[in-house]
Symmetry: D2
Subunit: 372 residues, 4 copies
């Protein structure tokens, strides 16, 4: 299924080389102002050709709202969003028809379906994420207007370069905005690290190679009480969402893998009364939990990290074999990113928004006890 969510639900469609890509978004609350420009902003952050560091495929990626609104207002009915595919080059893929690209999805699609899109990656293309980003932008607008929720993702690592831990702690406590993040080509808000990252990407590019990276995401103003306590814990839904993004290899909430090395007495987040609130309102002194305890949000910022592998498609010659098992050298064509994380920032934000909107609507159904 290409469907995500229970109430706020998105279904994406489209191959990289068909008429276009898009989605149907269901469960968007009625009477919300919405037009194309609300959605386009995040699509522009995702689109190819933003800088010298990204793929050269030229796509304006302009979204059309086909249904579900009237007079720029949502009706509560399914919203269909469509983005045409313009700059397809199927001829780039002809030479690779018999060769499953290493660490790409050619081999596994063929095994699953007995057929695969002849060019461009089909559904495994990053173009599929257009529908996610578009739907996520709607979710984000609703979360922002109803709850003041902010979702801010940025690049914290590319290859061997990472934001120093002390710098990252400061960033997490700052009122970081997207404008700051977009000031560097690699969407890293620490300018010094950003420069090193750019060199890292350029070095890979020069070698016709690619490089991986890490995205950190911060969600602020989350009401306490969101998330289902057993199988659909809030961190489980976020992990599901993040690992569904192409090229991801890992997910950490709060203290993550480093937290496994700690003692309980260090790791536990002690409660204290929030002095800034006029009513009694508990807050925690630390946030190793990453804003979630027992699968349910506790009102603190939600903090997580996502690992992205280096893109599989590289220009460098690879020694692999054909579908028939014959050894061969592969010189891949096609226009690909040497590093996906800068363009993946709005995808992480969009998927996060989809999880949060859905879980908040579910909580509305179940109780009147949302403590915003």
């Amino acid at each position: 299924m290409s469907t995500f969510g229970t109430i706020f639900q998105v279904t994406t469609f489209g191959e990289s080389h068909c008429a276009g890509v898009g989605c149907i978004v269901q469960g968007v609350p009625p009477r919300m102002k919405l037009n194309e420009s609300d959605i386009q902003a995040q699509l522009d952050r995702r689109k190819p050709g933003q800088s010298k560091l990204t793929t050269l495929r030229g796509e304006a990626d302009l979204v059309q709202i086909l249904s579900g609104t009237e007079a720029n207002t949502t009706l509560g009915t399914p919203i269909c969003l469509f983005v045409p595919n313009r700059d397809c080059k199927p001829e780039d893929y002809v030479s690779m028809l018999d060769i499953p690209r290493p660490s790409h999805a050619d081999y596994t699609y063929q095994k699953k379906y007995g057929i695969r899109a002849a060019s461009g990656g089909g559904r495994s293309s990053a173009r599929e994420t257009i529908g996610r980003v578009a739907a996520g932008a709607i979710a984000e607008k609703w979360l922002s207007e109803c709850y003041g929720i902010e979702i801010i993702a940025y690049v914290s690592g590319i290859g061997r370069i990472q934001i120093p831990p002390e710098t990252e702690s400061l960033l997490k406590e700052s009122a970081l905005k997207r404008t700051q993040i977009d000031q560097s080509l690699v969407r890293c808000p620490d300018q010094k690290t950003a420069e090193l990252m750019i060199h890292e990407v350029e070095a890979a590019l020069n070698d016709q190679d690619s490089v991986g990276g890490i995205i950190t995401c911060i969600c602020r103003n989350i009401p306490a009480g969101i998330g289902e306590p057993v199988f659909d814990k809030l961190e489980a839904m976020l992990a599901h969402a993040m690992l569904s993004i192409p090229a991801t290899k890992g997910f950490e909430i709060g203290s993550g893998f480093e937290g496994t090395k700690m003692r309980g007495s260090q790791h536990n987040d002690m409660f204290t009364n929030d002095a800034s609130s006029c009513n009694t309102k508990l807050t925690t002194k630390t946030n190793n939990s990453g804003g979630i305890q027992g699968g349910i949000s506790n009102g603190e910022p939600i903090l997580f990290r996502v690992a992205f592998k280096p893109p599989a498609t590289i220009g460098k010659t690879q020694m692999t074999c054909t579908f028939d098992g014959e050894p061969c050298l592969l010189n891949a064509k096609g226009r690909h990113d040497p590093c996906v994380v800068p363009r993946a920032v709005p995808i992480v934000e969009g998927m996060t928004a989809l999880v949060l909107a859905d879980q908040i609507l579910l909580q509305k159904a179940k109780t009147d006890n949302i403590s915003v």
Copy 2:
């Protein structure tokens, strides 16, 4: 919802201090031999009181099959499994009624539901996982009988102690069995590391403290073609399943966070013809993908790691505050594990089996193209 899966589907029920815990398992194929002993083995590996390193709560955790079988054979109908709660000590919790335990679920359940179980952790108790392990044991039996699938999890890290990388590489290539893993109290198959881990747990125990850890899981003989390519990628379902286990903080598939530092040319898993097969059968020279490409299994072993935080409940005095915001010292009672990972091994295995069984049944529905 306390429900997981689409076709092979489990719904768990039960608080730690109610009549008992259990589950309904739907979608179990008919005509499979099944009795209580098939399930009990994994419950015994999960149950409390197995060693000096685990909680003292005394529970035999004997499972009863209430429905869905006749003459030790599955009927294809819902299988209800039940394990009574015997050794409840609600009195241990009286002193903590007004104090939300730090990094536990007391505060968030109260915010979500406006009520919570007065003692024992309710649904957030590790006893909820009994239903998962029991259902997982059924899934595992079916996977083993129909596909020869093996799911082997072990403890690869406790606190600062981790199996050395080169040792772990050898382990992954060996024909590791559960009997080897169960030879140490901490379920670490490398005996030298196991001893260090035992000291690490004992040290925490002596300090009335707790410690975190990491579990590695290997799945062998997975047919290629399993997993849905977009939102329900196989790694996304596994991440969802793992992050739904209490106390988990992270998930990595294949190369994981380390893979972000690599170049594509190093990371890509080149194809080659499997010389051990009489037909053409592609295999990969390396397995940084962890057995999954584009969200779909490629036939290589599935490899992942799960991070567990140190248990929140510790005997050590904690400086926190009451629900009313009054600062207080908490000396928690209750009987808890200083480290959950040894007992979490069968939970990781069970949740993995649930994901795989469900995805294989879904693939059966969708195509006849399963290439076992």
Copy 3:
């Protein structure tokens, strides 16, 4: 799947001759008072042996709450309900092992699963409905307490005997209560018709035969705005629910099949201002719509009818054939009802409550616009 509902969700389990039957109910709002006696009342109306007109199987059908409540209060967590099977007589079924009972489920279960319960009907037994009635009783309590909703079903036809249309019109406008309905053995509130119905059942009983019937259901105080407008129209969910009850053959909402003979100008329900309300509140002069327009409740009473076939198991000799195709005479044993509709009244009410509770919770999720 043995699961019904999206948020207020029930999963039933149990064969007629296993340890027992029951269900897990998810999505029950927290902080509602609930104990066994709240559920038992409807189970008593469903249980066998209530009168000379019903099966002789002797079952007290006493329900146990295994989880999900504490101090007679719901926790918002899954509620497991269990009713043991006591009076099984598998020996009654030995002679029928090779013969698929006509119009029963023996043949189709065998075709579907390649196996079937050797005795007592397995999942197709009416005992499966115990879980539905129990879950429905919880739903009904919540609907009554939060919305003042009343669900009243009664028997309007048995065999050739039906309540005269003019009498039924008066009944629908009266403040009919369950106590009135339970005054006759056949649960028909019109005493004169009830007597004729009793004769109809007795005549069938004397002939070792069975007879069908019709149940009418009225739901009052339904808030406007409930139901999903496209595939999950409120009448579609009710039809689904009703046709899932064993032995049902038809469903009509409002004017039903008779309405097909009408002109639009007769059938349309004209709006008028409700003089009994101090605010503007639209009501309709007639209710051919049965309380639903465009799939969404309009605030008028919901009215529908359900057709039940004569029970398939009869004592009378039947000329049929074995599984192997050999002609044979079947003299069925087992203890069965000559007419199911009197005992089906609480099943219809329970399934209706499950639909309404789920749809109201879904509407709470989607909008704040419930106009109670």
Copy 4:
């Protein structure tokens, strides 16, 4: 949700006066030949303006496949289908903005969402069914190619005119084809009855009124073993599907409401060995069950009937009131059918195909026991 089905799943979108209507179809098996003309045939049977008896809205309703196929072959990925809206006349609706049309969905949408499409019926418009018919055509093609399944619906009643029972019995046993059905404007295969029906519709049209009707559906070559035995009985899914079609008021399977008057000994379908089969193959002498026993298909033809009310929108003056409760006379504009059943025939067929395809795929997942 505007979504139907579990594996073979359709999600529709589009209001009557937005850019267009359509759907995403998921779960279509890969490697099936498919192009627009396979879908267009059924859309043409549904489209407006087919005859003097239908609405004058002029729409070619030409479908475009936007994704999911390559070289006229399905890829196993989501298929997006789109039909533009061309002939919108929002001006027809201006005079009705303040008046909820009687027995239409204006009032209930407003109560549910607090907003509604200002013109043309929005989602409650019959144009929404275009997506269903298009998706159903794909399902039907697959059912026909893989199982030889035939789904034939026809009009058996309009107003007071019905096909005589003995004629209908003969029709059900004949090898009725769609070409025969399409020979009359009202899609009634009995020509004598068809003429009377045409007069019935014309009479309503002359009175600026509308009239209801009944559709009968026959499904042949259904494999035994399809359908879930408890809540998702095959007849329950069909009832759900049929009552989700706009304007439906009732559903009967097999003997239906008439069957309630019968004795079990008359109603039971006795088994016999099918002499036309070389292997042992049970068939039933009668088919009061309508091809389904215990919720599961038994291999006999599936037979059911669906009731449609007279269309709510009529030209005749209606005495109703405004949203504000002010009495008023309504003279509705807009272009509407005096009777929906002739155009509803492909909708009934499409929804039936969606149910059958989904249930067959589910059965494939669950067992290898499909006895085609």
